[in-house]
């Protein structure tokens, strides 16, 4: 019996080794374009990192199903090499260099977050490897004159613009602005100050909170003392959801509460639960838009349907922007007709094509030329029900509920 087991074990190991070797040969015989992606699989941004990876995988799957990327009549499959940056900037930088020098990737898909993207863009610039950022909207990433970094997300100068225009249309007179004390939060808060000036809203409160704060009641009580008509919050998912839940716990009623990022994401709504009801968020994705389309993914509705099939939930704009990184590279590589990084870089810089995300065209600094944005509102306490577009009026799918129903009447 013991000898039979040993023989079985040896045979199994031989087959396994052979299989691995043969699959390696099969892959190497296919023409492949290698993309590198440092991703937050562990650490503070695990949820966000997971959604980014899902979106990259969706693009890869859909593109490969259609044969891959066409370069001069030859089809190239897409392969993406992932490493876990542990939501740490220094690690993301190290992995970016590893991907370029050791893994010999052709192009880079940026890590999650403006901080890591800011740091990694220095590496991509040094090595002249084009990098497209789907989750880095901080304008600081693009304002250094770098040539090899491009951004899909509308940058922070335009965040919360729909919410402020909506507030002005409702004749709201004042606003309180709070932000998470990190690069993206600071940039979006500065943008909110500009929006307030443009829309004649009096700024009555402006302050920050820590990314690791477990209790935001102190800042909420200060806000409540000012009795604002409009609260603009600029934070990542976790802190934003915490703020919403504590508003409910403290029964702080503010007629309009808008987030630069958060309510549009399922994970935020699951975290905030019914505390997120009536809250507003920015989005760059209107799932019902039918004019935006490309030959790889299709329309926004096709994207949402495919994403839901693959991963079990309806995506928000951050997933769409991440998939948009892939689309931008796809279109640019085909336009360049080459894998030469300089040619692809030039093709990205001169790209002007339609995609499921809208028009893909970059400014001279690599940031995306401003695209339509929408304000969405959570109108159901069920987190699985996605928020509805309420602004601008010509895109609105439902009436905007204002003012938010007070906590004691819900």
């Amino acid at each position: 019996m013991k000898i039979r087991m040993k023989v079985f074990f040896c045979v199994a190991v031989i087959f396994l080794a052979l299989g691995t070797y043969l699959s390696g040969i099969a892959l190497t015989q296919e023409k492949v374009i290698k993309f590198g992606a440092p991703i937050s699989i562990t650490g503070a941004w695990t949820r966000e990192g997971a959604s980014v990876k899902n979106a990259y995988e969706l693009w890869k799957t859909m593109a490969n199903q259609k044969g891959g990327i066409n370069i001069g009549g030859e089809k190239y499959k897409i392969d993406i090499r992932y490493y876990d940056d542990m939501s740490d900037t220094n690690t993301a930088v190290k992995l970016t260099e590893k991907l370029i020098t050791e893994d010999k990737i052709n192009f880079l898909l940026a890590p999650y977050g403006s901080g890591p993207a800011f740091a990694c863009s220095t590496i991509s610039e040094k090595y002249h490897v084009p990098m497209v950022c789907g989750q880095s909207s901080s304008y600081s990433v693009f304002s250094r004159g770098y040539k090899y970094v491009f951004g899909i997300m509308v940058d922070t100068r335009y965040y919360q613009k729909p919410a402020f225009e909506l507030a002005a249309s409702l004749r709201i007179k004042n606003v309180a602005i709070v932000y998470e004390n990190m690069i993206w939060g600071i940039d979006t808060a500065k943008a909110c100050q500009e929006h307030a000036k443009k829309n004649n809203l009096e700024l009555i409160f402006y302050d920050k909170f820590d990314s690791k704060a477990m209790d935001l009641s102190s800042i909420l009580l200060q806000i409540n003392a000012k009795k604002p008509e409009f609260l603009a919050v600029n934070s990542y998912l976790q802190q934003g959801a915490l703020l919403a839940r504590q508003m409910k716990d403290l029964k702080i009623n503010i007629p309009l509460v808008a987030f630069g990022y958060g309510p549009i994401e399922l994970s935020w709504r699951e975290n905030a639960k019914d505390a997120g009801l009536y809250m507003v968020s920015d989005t760059q994705l209107d799932v019902e838009n039918t004019t935006n389309r490309d030959r790889i993914i299709g329309t926004p509705a096709d994207f949402a349907k495919k994403y839901n099939e693959m991963f079990g939930y309806v995506p928000g704009h951050s997933e769409a922007n991440s998939a948009g990184c892939g689309i931008a590279f796809h279109l640019a590589i085909e336009k360049a007709g080459s894998l030469d990084p300089e040619k692809v870089r030039d093709a990205l810089a001169s790209l002007d094509e339609m995609s499921f995300l809208g028009r893909l065209k970059f400014d001279k600094d690599g940031s995306r030329l401003h695209q339509p944005q929408y304000a969405v509102q959570i109108q159901s306490a069920d987190p699985k029900v996605k928020p509805v577009v309420v602004y601008p009026p010509d895109s609105a799918k439902a009436k905007f509920i204002y003012p938010a129903v007070p906590w004691d009447r819900r």
Partner: protein, 322 residues
Amino acid sequence: MKKRYHYIGLFFLFGLAVAIPFGMNRYVVRVVTSIFMFAALSESWDLITGKTGYFSFGHGVFFGLGAYAAAILMLRLHVPFSVGFVAGGIAAALFALIVGIPILRLKGHYFAIITLGIAEVMQGITLNLESLTGGGVGITLPIKSGSMDEIYSFFYFLMLFLMIAAIIASYLIDHSRFGYGLVAIREDEAAANVLGVNATLYKILAYALSAAFCGFVGATYAYWITYIEPSDVFGLKFSISIIVMALVGGIGTVWGPIIGAFIFEAFSELFWSKFLTFHNASLGVLMILIILLLPKGFMEMIYSKRRLSLSGIIANLRKYME
């Protein structure tokens, strides 16, 4: 005879270290630079914890102080890196002197907890002094001039120098009256006092020296990475990593923290590339196994009579379970 082999071995390793930037790709140079950095930090941490028994959980604060001191001077006053480098070490040492006087009166867990608290407080202060530190946006330092290879080699050799300096400092302290005093404090502080060792002074000096090295490394790190933010340099990552490295290698020894840093980083690189989602867990399990099987670190393998043998491992496990 044995000592001669040690010197030959050291000379060979030094030669290998010098040759790496000229023969390997830039990623390997970056990884080895990072290893030297952690080795220097771990060795400097051991100057206080290994020698006096005062367990510091927040040593990353000196690393962060050194990084920000250099960054602020270089960015705001446009001083050259050499000035920022020295300032980083001095700033960290001065801070250690100031906080060391009160906190080194605490012992055991209380000292450990307060060092943790100090690190968190400094992170909070740095986040809020926006006009000086950039707050949550962080600071971008000027990029060193020169070709890519020159830049990589510069930081490689500077971290190597800092690691060697920390080793030499540890060795000299071990063989000095000051070192004997520190060991006496570790064994029995009250008895050391009675025997004429000025325990307070010795502890503060060891703490300041340890902090100075961390500050120099922090200043170098800031210039190397060119972008720092409070959560990056004051975070617990550095504090905990250097503790684990010293534990793996052997606390209280000259070579233990160095060996621990190399082993930890080598396994970290290996697991990262092989296990996308379980690398942290795999590394954690491995470190726990190492600490269970070799509670005194890898140096135990070298100095213990039993060396690495099955009977030695079983004896360690039994001792641990008692």
